[in-house]
Symmetry: D2
Subunit: 331 residues, 4 copies
């Protein structure tokens, strides 16, 4: 029973089907009908014009989006535990040619206008200090916390006031949406580009960069090619993205993952380091307790010395979630 991560879960059957269907085309790169249709499909989801590029990984999505926003001499404000800072092997430094990440605080890896201001206000407007050009927030955060539309609105307002772009790392955007239960468009007000995650939600190898400012997409298209991310059989990535949107598969899958997380959370409310709003649980437990759980066949990562991280996925079976819940309750 695997709760290590959602990032290697099986591919959803509907995604497989769409990929097989895509094999009929033979138009290279992103010239195929599936790729061409993405702007419209995501436009439907978000209720506004957007320009969409597929890429194979969330790291590429985040970095290509940011590279379109931030010059090499600039900086991005993000949380000190943001994925782009912690887990992408320095990809932002590479893609942004040495632009900096400016690290801000915030409970549950959530930025606030105050924590952002605490980072950027002391920066003198001179050439000796690197100037911020964008803010990046993660929805849901690296601790499974979810920004409300109001919270995003406040950050977007700050961004606008300071002349900064706003990027959203939505590796688990679907999980956040399920938690919020509002229209997707409400969650991206003021957002310039969204990394719309699918791999953690049942896709194989496709993420979408959704540019709400299409001018950014023009730059990103060149940068995607230059980064070796323009696959010649891109139709298979487009097919995955379309399959995820079709019949709201993205929401259905995330709903299943969130539900499993919620079920587990109920067994260990007193141990939770963070409220469970998406599909991740950070559970206080000793090394001995972790060993006990592992002995019962549960797979998960240690989270520091005194906690464990459990992640559910679209395919987490209810009985497995139940078993884990019971096992934790019995510790």
């Amino acid at each position: 029973m695997q709760f290590l991560s959602d990032n290697s879960a099986p591919v959803h059957p509907a995604v497989w089907d769409a990929m097989h269907a895509a094999d009929a085309s033979d138009t290279p790169y992103d010239g195929d009908a599936l790729s061409a249709d993405l702007d419209a499909r995501f436009g439907d989801v978000f209720g506004r014009e957007c320009a969409v590029l597929w890429v194979a990984t969330g790291t590429a999505a985040n970095c290509l989006a940011l590279a379109a926003m931030v010059p090499p001499h600039g900086a991005v404000v993000c949380h000190k535990e943001a994925h782009i800072e912690m887990d992408e092997g320095g990809a932002p430094g590479f893609y942004l040619h040495g632009a900096k990440l400016l690290l801000a605080q915030g409970e549950g890896a959530k930025l606030t206008p105050e924590t952002i201001a605490a980072v950027i206000d002391p920066i003198r407007d001179d050439v000796h200090q690197v100037q911020p050009h964008a803010i990046s927030i993660t929805q849901a955060t690296e601790y499974g916390r979810v920004y409300t539309p109001a919270e995003i609105g406040e950050i977007a307002a700050l961004a606008k006031a300071r002349g900064l772009r706003l990027h959203m790392d939505g590796a688990r955007f679907a999980n956040a949406m399920v938690h919020l239960g509002v229209a997707p468009g409400e969650v991206v007000n003021g957002v310039d580009a969204l990394s719309f995650g699918c791999v953690k939600n049942g896709a194989m190898s496709a993420e979408a960069i959704v540019f709400f400012d299409p001018s950014l997409a023009d730059v990103a298209r060149y940068r995607r090619k230059g980064a070796g991310h323009l696959q010649s059989k891109g139709r298979f990535l487009a097919a995955q993205l379309k399959a995820m949107l079709a019949d709201n598969l993205w929401l259905t899958s995330a709903r299943a993952a969130n539900a499993a997380a919620t079920e587990i959370a109920q067994s260990c409310a007193g141990r939770l380091l963070h409220p469970v709003e998406a599909n991740e649980l950070f559970v206080r437990c000793t090394a001995a307790e972790r060993e006990t759980l592992r002995a019962q066949g549960f797979g998960f990562y240690d989270w520091g010395a005194e906690a464990a991280r459990f992640v559910t996925a679209w395919n987490t079976r209810s009985e497995d979630a139940g078993a884990l819940a019971k096992a934790i309750a019995s510790l």
Copy 2:
């Protein structure tokens, strides 16, 4: 009847099968058994130790290989019509942080020791001029020409004598192998890294970087992550590569493509700009002639004002090749 390119041909059924089988695993990144087995499988093919990384595109393969060999202040000697110079959207400049491509001449996009020396000999050994650190050759070349083992050996000897690394862009390595009919190991003597192409040969989205100097692979692994090319469901890329090697599918597929090209070539020997040694044909023909062919349903690219490029693939049907041959003969 599509002769535009092999880069968007259908995925081979055996590749599909292997990908489906890979879905059973859930180990992320390249920690899965399929990925772990690649060194041994390619080691079998080449008869020597190698370290293998999967990536999604040939551009990424070429650039990651070169980035492991060449410092930012260095240069790569390549043919002036090499893919890395002409068709990768500046990816080498990005991956190598501004290192240069030094452009050499050569019939059929083939470098020779002489044309390489003509580029590097005039370079003074001082800081004012960018110093070469590697040579990159394409096998088969961008004009479908094939280096013999002896030719490669001469270039490798030059590289060694000058302290340069040798990279081989093998986007169509399989097609070259079929033409040569020798053991693969004979074709990579002195080569430090090979971009082993599969996408043009029936895979969906997987190329192999085969490092014959494993120390280069250690650097490339970090660079792959930093470039956003470490897919979390990497097992699907490993599966494709293994499927290509299994039962020599890579050679079988290339043999089919080459055979189709040869069949067409026989109809237009007098029009060929280059001998047909792999799966590409460059055929002298007027605009009117090209229109005639297109009117018959043949798809292909113009090659300048007075020629056309036809590319066959693993799935090119013999009757289609025959039809094209006949059509050209009838011009």
Copy 3:
């Protein structure tokens, strides 16, 4: 008698005087009165608004100017023998983060609208090929040739028509001006940024980047700091530049250098590889002849196997020029 280069000639006494006078200030970086006055002083010279930054080297001037014009995924069209291509140790690749130099032909290292078009016209407007964003011309060229205002106007018109920026490497701009004998403003019509050279003309360590589009200067200021070129005692660079402009020292010095070159040229008209329009001579002569000259105490560089390059400077003595002229005539 040194004719190796003008780049290491002595510092003009007026420059020394200005530097000493500058020591009285102690305002750091470019906050001093001398630096602040540069925009106005160069504005007077060119008869238009400009924003001026000092830097220590021509390489830094060229690269900072280009970095403000060209994104990392773009390219600069320049002559294949341009200084930025041949002699700057790959600095453009570094400063432009991998953007390419696209190499064009042209007699005497002069670009023409035709040779520029020959490079950029074949570039498809797609992401597979690096797109030009700027043109860089050298005035006077690396072969001592001078663009007329009309020639520059044609190139500027092409640049404008194609949406490209125009940069002028004016390492020997003063020498070109002396040859042309027109108002400086006439020579920079349509130019976005000029590297205004002083080091080869009697300064010690100061070049000016003159931005005729001041918005580019805002970016360049950040880039200059990030490149380690914002000297804390920048007043000494500003002082050099002001001294060069004062009383037209820049023109007086260049006039002396050009005159010396002209004197030498008269002795060897039949041997000249290029017309002498500035302060460089490329003289056909055998190895034996070069040895003869060196035996007489003349210093110069070989230019390939069958020529020599002689460069005069602001301080070249008429008797030395005469002696060289005589020596060449006697060969």
Copy 4:
């Protein structure tokens, strides 16, 4: 009475003299006798072999040194208030092509083995996290604190144990040396490269990068050219460096600066945020008190809301230091 910074103090007369003398040479770049002599002169100072490059700024010195040590996918551990992090406009990101600065804690901007380990120990040895390749310490620190040879030895031992290079930013190395009163060689044990500052100590525009591992210098020479820092009249930089070393001018000048700082410190011991070990004072004082001081003609920077920074220089007059001391005492 200026206590803003030592970075814009006048040029020492001996430096002027040496520069004038250097004008007699006309060998370009670093081919002159003065440049060639630097290795030996610094070798004398440090009692070991070293390879020395001049550059115009401390930022360039730091970044070129680090660029020779750290690959683009690596990282440098430095103090969170280090100059390279705070005040160099992102230059390390540019020069190191996106390599990261990993920020460590430490009293008075001094790193310790413990604070370094606190940063690097949690870094997993995998490709998802950026790996450290070097440590950079500042001697004296940004708060005017001085590492003892023993402290450096401990950090060097840690660096060696972890396979990291050690860089020392010695913008105020001379001030530290005066405080320590030991042989220079004792202070650089285990250091791979030292940015030996002169500009803050009476030079005009020359810093030395002293490589104790000469192999690093070979890379740095190429990088210096590529960064536009190889001045053609480099003899003037070499002359400055030699003048600083001659007759121990570097120590004499620093001794004067330190003495002035010590004199001031005695008047405000109770207000000092940091012990005064070099030539910087961080003095607790209110906005009103700062206004009082400024009204008396003292120039200095605010240091946050509740302190002021005073910096003395080689030319600070004893009467000025005394006047400031008295003024602070009278607050």
